[in-house]
């Protein structure tokens, strides 16, 4: 095996130096005008994130810019999908102005850390991420080091149409299993309303992932553990809800109509929705999604009564990294600390609750509920928010996640049996591990 790394690296470095020069020029000419009058040098930072600017980020950078005339931050929104991430990564490698960027999945952060795009944050000693963000922060560490700071709490729970529950005489559940879910769903199902469904991307992460996070995705002998009994059990229960009791819309329908689960739920066409905090943005937008019912909240269901290693999907999200090639790392770090402790608050109305213990949680709650306090069952919300259940975070590589949802889909649409599904998933996962 010959090493051409040096050649490729040399070419790439030469190119990035070249482009760094040209972007230098661009920057200084752009800066020439505003800095003419003032004596101090103005630092311009660019912050890339996946949240649409008008949903909070613009307000955040405006607030910061007002307080810090010498460090001006511009927000750039990228769409958090394949092409959007590609765009971000090409921008970083080419030495374009990316100073801070948000990461939404661990595998992508790992790629960016190993390629030298993300700065190792341990060089800054004035902010203890573990202490501020709690034990879940560790799930974002790459090789025990932080290349990004997780900033928001991931909170997953089941959204309930409380008016429908009341009509059926059902209490708001505080601890339940998938069998209970099905029972509830049957009672809540009407001609115009589905009983229960999960948010589309969320179907990738199935309740068994909590167990596997404990048991490990890989067995001791180095082969895939995706054949564990709990996997088949969870799939079967979901399948039955789609095809036997028919309380859930089948995946084929969700996919072919790009069914907007949130809109379904908010327009009373779906009684219970397994989703998370991100629904708040639309739930708070009663102009576009008018509703007259109250929303209550329940924790995620366990698969079976016996599942003792159940973990609730959760942890932290929005891991913000500093570009290792940024010219203004110190300034970017200042912004990042401020963002995590107070800056990000305006996004709370969209469900982004700060993870930092020094953030104003009451204010966040107030923003989260807005003027709609009477439209939420606050008691049950506080219950799921203060849920002390152990959590886990999805960490499988993207390719394995895709293999899984490919094969699961085939089972859900009756294109292959459950046994074959498990067999294929295990085989393809093993093949994947052999290569990596």
């Amino acid at each position: 095996m010959k090493r051409i790394g040096a050649v490729v690296a040399a070419v790439l470095i030469a190119l990035s130096v070249l482009s760094a020069c040209s972007s230098n020029n661009k920057e200084s000419s752009a800066q020439a005008d505003p800095s003419k009058g003032s004596s101090g040098k103005v630092v311009n930072l660019t912050f890339w994130g996946g949240v649409p600017a008008e949903a909070g980020p613009q307000e955040i950078v405006d607030t910061w810019n007002k307080e810090h005339p010498d460090i001006q931050v511009t927000y750039v929104r990228y769409v958090n999908d394949d092409s959007g991430n590609l765009k971000l990564d090409t921008a970083i490698t080419s030495g374009q102005n990316v100073d801070l960027f948000a990461n939404y999945t661990k595998p992508l952060l790992e790629k960016r850390a190993s390629s030298g795009s993300a700065l190792d944050l341990s060089q800054f000693t004035d902010y203890n991420i573990d202490e501020k963000m709690g034990p879940s922060a560790k799930e974002w560490a790459v090789d025990d080091k932080y290349y990004a700071m997780p900033t928001k709490r991931n909170i997953h729970f089941v959204w309930l149409n409380k008016d429908a529950l009341d009509e059926a005489g059902l209490p708001v559940p505080t601890d339940w299993t998938l069998a209970d879910v099905e029972k509830y769903a049957k009672a809540l199902q009407t001609d115009s309303r589905w009983g229960y469904s999960t948010f589309p991307f969320y179907r990738d992460i199935v309740p068994f992932d909590g167990s596997l996070a404990v048991q490990g995705y890989v067995k001791e002998d180095g082969t895939s553990n995706l054949g564990a009994p709990i996997v088949a059990e969870a799939l079967k229960l979901h399948y039955d809800m789609m095809h036997t009791s028919k309380v859930s819309p089948p995946i084929s329908l969700i996919e072919t109509t790009k069914m907007n689960m949130i809109a379904e739920f908010l327009s009373n066409k779906l009684a219970m929705m397994n989703a998370g905090e991100w629904v708040f943005r639309d739930a708070n937008n009663i102009q576009d999604y008018p509703r007259d019912f109250t929303v209550a909240f329940a924790p995620l269901p366990r698969i079976t009564e016996e599942q003792d290693d159940f973990r609730s999907l959760g942890g932290l999200g929005d891991a913000i990294a500093i570009n290792a090639k940024s010219k203004y790392k110190e300034e970017a770090w200042e912004f990042l600390k401020w963002y995590a402790d107070e800056g990000m608050l305006p996004q709370a109305s969209g469900g982004r609750i700060p993870a930092s213990k020094d953030a104003d949680q009451d204010k966040a709650m107030e923003l989260l509920l807005g003027d709609l306090k009477d439209k939420y069952d606050v008691e049950s919300l506080e219950r799921v928010l203060s849920n002390e259940l152990p959590t886990f975070q999805a960490t499988l590589p993207q390719e394995v996640m895709d293999i899984r949802s490919d094969e699961f889909d085939k089972y859900y649409i009756n294109a292959q049996s459950l046994e074959d599904t498990i067999k294929n998933v295990v085989k393809r996962h093993n093949d994947f591990m052999k290569r990596h």
Partner: protein
């Protein structure tokens, strides 16, 4: 005598050499651009096919044929190859349909301009919005297609995009629709070169008209047919956007075509080496398909 002859020969050679030079000069500007922006980048990615480069890392190892041997054991590859071939079936259908529509639109209708515009419209529209509409049209439960089929007495219409066996055919239908306007306009342009008395269809009776179309017009536009088939196959094989927008390869991998497979491998998994290897194979497939058409053209294409 000999001198004069030599002189003439010399002049002729000179003229030919000048002709050569002029020829090169005519193609040079485009050639340089195409080399810079297509050929050289393509050569670069052929080299990558023999490495394990992962974007955005800065180094890579030569791994020989590893990527290719992996490819030949990859079930997704064979599935995508099959899907790609099924998808290509839409090209000749759309070209044939395009010819018939162009013949009619050229002379035999009123409101010519309006009709032409309507036919061409699909070709000029922006992707994602219209992709979404197609999804709604083929919605298996209440979508207009299945509502129509049910009203015609078909109790179990296909699940279209929701079923692994029919999903790829939805793309064939969309693609026939999309390419049709393009085929029509190319044929219309070609028909302008056909003497108009041949096209005055209304003056000729039915049987003779069919004869004229089949044995006179069809051969006359055969260079365009060759062009449409060749470019149709090429653009279809490279097409990725509609798959990404509508199903992203699903359900399962029933609509994963080679180009989408490449895109995902390269830009979702950042596995550039493997993606390049798939591209090399894809390129070979296109070259073979095109070469067959190019060399078979002598049999049926007539240049004036």
């Amino acid at each position: 005598m000999l001198l004069i002859l030599l002189g003439e020969l010399h002049m002729k050679l000179n003229w030919m050499r000048r002709q050569q030079l002029v020829g090169y000069m005519f193609i040079a500007p485009n050639m340089i651009g195409v080399s810079c922006f297509i050929i050289i980048p393509a050569l670069f990615s052929i080299i990558l096919a023999f490495t394990n480069w992962e974007f955005p890392r800065l180094s890579a190892d030569f791994v020989g044929m590893t990527n290719f041997s992996r490819l030949f054991q990859d079930e997704v590859f064979y599935q995508s190859l099959k899907n790609t071939l099924i998808f290509l079936g839409s090209v000749p259908i759309s070209v044939g349909l395009g010819f018939l529509v162009a013949i009619v639109l050229n002379k035999s209708v009123y409101l010519k301009n309006m009709l032409r515009t309507m036919f061409f419209l699909p070709y000029i529209t922006t992707g994602i919005a219209i992709a979404f509409v197609w999804m709604l049209i083929f919605q298996p439960v209440d979508g207009p297609v299945n509502t129509l089929l049910k009203s015609m007495g078909i109790v179990h219409p296909p699940g279209w995009l929701s079923s692994t066996s029919s999903a790829i055919f939805v793309f064939d239908i969309i693609w026939i629709w999309f390419l049709l306007g393009y085929n029509v306009i190319i044929y219309l342009a070609a028909l302008q070169e056909v003497p108009s008395e041949l096209l005055e269809a209304s003056k000729i009776d039915g049987a003779r008209r069919m004869h004229t179309i089949r044995y006179i017009i069809w051969p006359l536009v055969s260079p365009s047919t060759l062009f449409l088939l060749m470019t149709g196959f090429i653009t279809s094989i490279k097409q990725m956007g509609i798959f990404q927008a509508i199903t992203d390869g699903g359900p399962g991998d029933s609509t994963t075509v080679l180009s989408l497979f490449i895109y995902k491998t390269a830009f979702r998994y950042y596995d550039m080496g493997y993606a390049s290897a798939i591209s090399v194979i894809l390129l070979l497939i296109i070259i073979v398909i095109t070469a067959i058409q190019w060399f078979a053209q002598k049999k049926w294409v007539h240049y004036s």
